[in-house]
């Protein structure tokens, strides 16, 4: 279980997170929604310790993430970055198998490659892609390689930052299904950022909406449509008029 208590983060005068309180239960799929630039990506990075929160506490199973042993802590996580963040000096398969080629999870090269190709297949990429370099792939393909890398070592907790952005509707459907499978079959905890409401409905157990630096609303996905919260209503229906200003 991941618990965030009163988390604040500012970049200079830009106060991005202003007291985030959120609990992500183990084995559940939490989806974070919210306008562009509200700090969703920063929130994920705070949990991973890539960005340090100014105040507030973030705990994983009761242990503070800032004081936990970094190696054992990070070994439990997989992360898909918004921009893919593939290593452009390495071919696709070595990107996917990065964790399996070094460190405590190291295994023989052929085995790592086989796993990489299997993970690539799961995100809808042909085995031929394995030997290409990231620069030779389209944006959507890079995103899927990033996804394959995030799940390659079968982590307990996986963060997906906009997994379906830039994908065609069919591929988006494949990815949504994959994330759902990872949670239900492997029992992983997933935290997904998305702007795509069909993804929200396909992936989420619970939904949290970030706005103005706080969690504006959170609840089970089944209650999302019925909620009276004007922010959520404006967001899910994509209306220009409402409490959320169009210019931010």
């Amino acid at each position: 279980m991941i618990t965030l208590t009163d988390v604040h983060k500012a970049f200079g005068s830009n106060r991005v997170l202003r007291g985030v309180n959120l609990t992500i239960p183990s084995g559940e799929s939490m989806v974070i929604i919210g306008g562009s630039g509200t700090g969703k990506s920063v929130l994920l990075k705070c949990i991973l310790g890539l960005v340090h929160a100014d105040t507030g506490s973030i705990t994983l199973d009761g242990e503070d993430v800032e004081t936990a042993s970094r190696d054992t802590f990070l070994a439990r996580f997989g992360m898909l970055f918004q921009g893919g963040a593939l290593f452009d000096s390495l071919p696709v398969w070595q990107n996917v198998a990065f964790r399996l080629l070094r460190g405590s999870l190291k295994r023989p090269k052929d085995e790592a490659r086989a796993i990489a190709i299997e993970k690539l297949r799961r995100v809808g990429l042909k085995p031929e892609t394995a030997d290409l370099f990231p620069a030779e792939l389209s944006g959507g393909m890079q995103k899927r390689v990033g996804l394959a890398r995030a799940i390659a070592a079968e982590p307990e907790i996986i963060f997906f930052d906009e997994p379906t952005t830039g994908l065609d509707p069919i591929m988006a459907g494949v990815i949504n299904q994959l994330i759902r499978e990872i949670v239900t079959e492997m029992g992983a905890t997933a935290m997904t950022i998305t702007h795509d409401m069909s993804s929200v409905r396909a992936i989420a157990d619970r939904v949290a909406m970030l706005h103005d630096g706080v969690i504006q609303w959170t609840g089970p996905v089944t209650e999302m449509d019925a909620t009276a919260d004007p922010y959520v209503q404006q967001f899910i229906h994509g209306r220009a008029e409402g409490p959320i200003e169009a210019v931010r």
Binding site: L48, L74, A75, F81, A85, F87, D88, R99, S104
Partner: protein, 260 residues
């Protein structure tokens, strides 16, 4: 307020400079401390060795060749003023080995290697690849900095040794073909006055310069600002800092070796 503004600006500049110096020192200490702690990444090290050592050979070689040649001409012209033309071979050798080989080699490596390291690591930083490394349980310091720093510290002395030889050869070519020296005499004079300590001091300098070059490239890359502009600034700062530090370190090391 307005009278104090320039003073405040100077103060900010000095404080900023000191803060960078402090961060740099901490970065250097951290890099060195990781040199001896596993995990090690031999593949990255070999790759860095190729990039820094092998591919710098042409640049360093050309620089040394022309410098050796020019040095022979200059010393001949200077020496002629007090009929000491015969010192050309030994002064070329000593000048190359003690000073010009390591300094010019170091500066060329700074231009070539500090810039490319800073640009590469800076781009990785900007595109979140460094963050990705961390989430994949890989320490960026160990994976990116240590192999490069180690490779440069080991490779640059070798480059300097090669550069020294090529520089002396350049002096020999000019001495024999342009200045009318007897080939055998030229070689004999070169060898006679050159001491092992001359060569060693140059190689130590090379090691220090290699360390500086890679450290500056990694430091400015890791601290790159956001976007293409950030990477551009990081690259420029890495080359400038590496070059200035090389020249300053050269003076200090020369004092040390000279008084020793």
């Amino acid at each position: 307020m307005s009278i104090l503004a320039p003073v405040a600006a100077i103060g900010r500049l000095v404080l900023g400079g000191l803060a960078t110096l402090g961060r740099l020192a901490l970065f250097g200490v951290e890099a060195v401390s990781h040199l001896f702690r596993p995990p090690f990444y031999p593949k990255e090290f070999l790759h860095a060795l190729m990039q820094i050592g092998w591919f710098s050979l042409p640049v360093v070689g050309m620089t040394a060749l022309f410098t050796g040649g020019a040095l022979a001409l200059q010393i001949y012209a200077g020496g002629a003023r007090f009929s000491a033309e015969s010192v050309v071979p030994s002064i070329v050798a000593i000048g190359m080995v003690r000073e010009l080989g390591p300094v010019l080699g170091g500066l060329m490596v700074a231009a070539r290697v500090a810039s490319s390291i800073a640009a590469e690591i800076g781009t990785m930083k900007v595109t979140e690849q460094i963050d990705a490394l961390v989430t994949l349980s890989t320490h960026p310091m160990k994976y990116l900095t240590v192999p490069r720093v180690l490779a440069a510290t080991l490779a640059v002395p070798v480059l300097v040794a090669v550069g020294d030889s090529i520089g002396i050869f350049g002096g020999y070519l000019v001495g024999v073909n342009r200045l009318g020296f007897n080939p055998a005499t030229y070689l004999k004079n070169t060898r006679e006055f050159l001491e092992w300590s001359d060569i060693a001091s140059g190689l130590w300098k090379g090691a220090a310069f290699g360390f500086i070059v890679a450290l500056m490239g990694c430091f400015y890359g890791m601290h790159s600002g956001r976007g293409a502009q950030g990477v551009g600034r990081a690259t420029k700062s890495a080359v400038v800092a590496a070059s200035v530090l090389i020249l300053a370190t050269n003076y200090i090391l020369t004092e040390v070796f000279f008084s020793a």
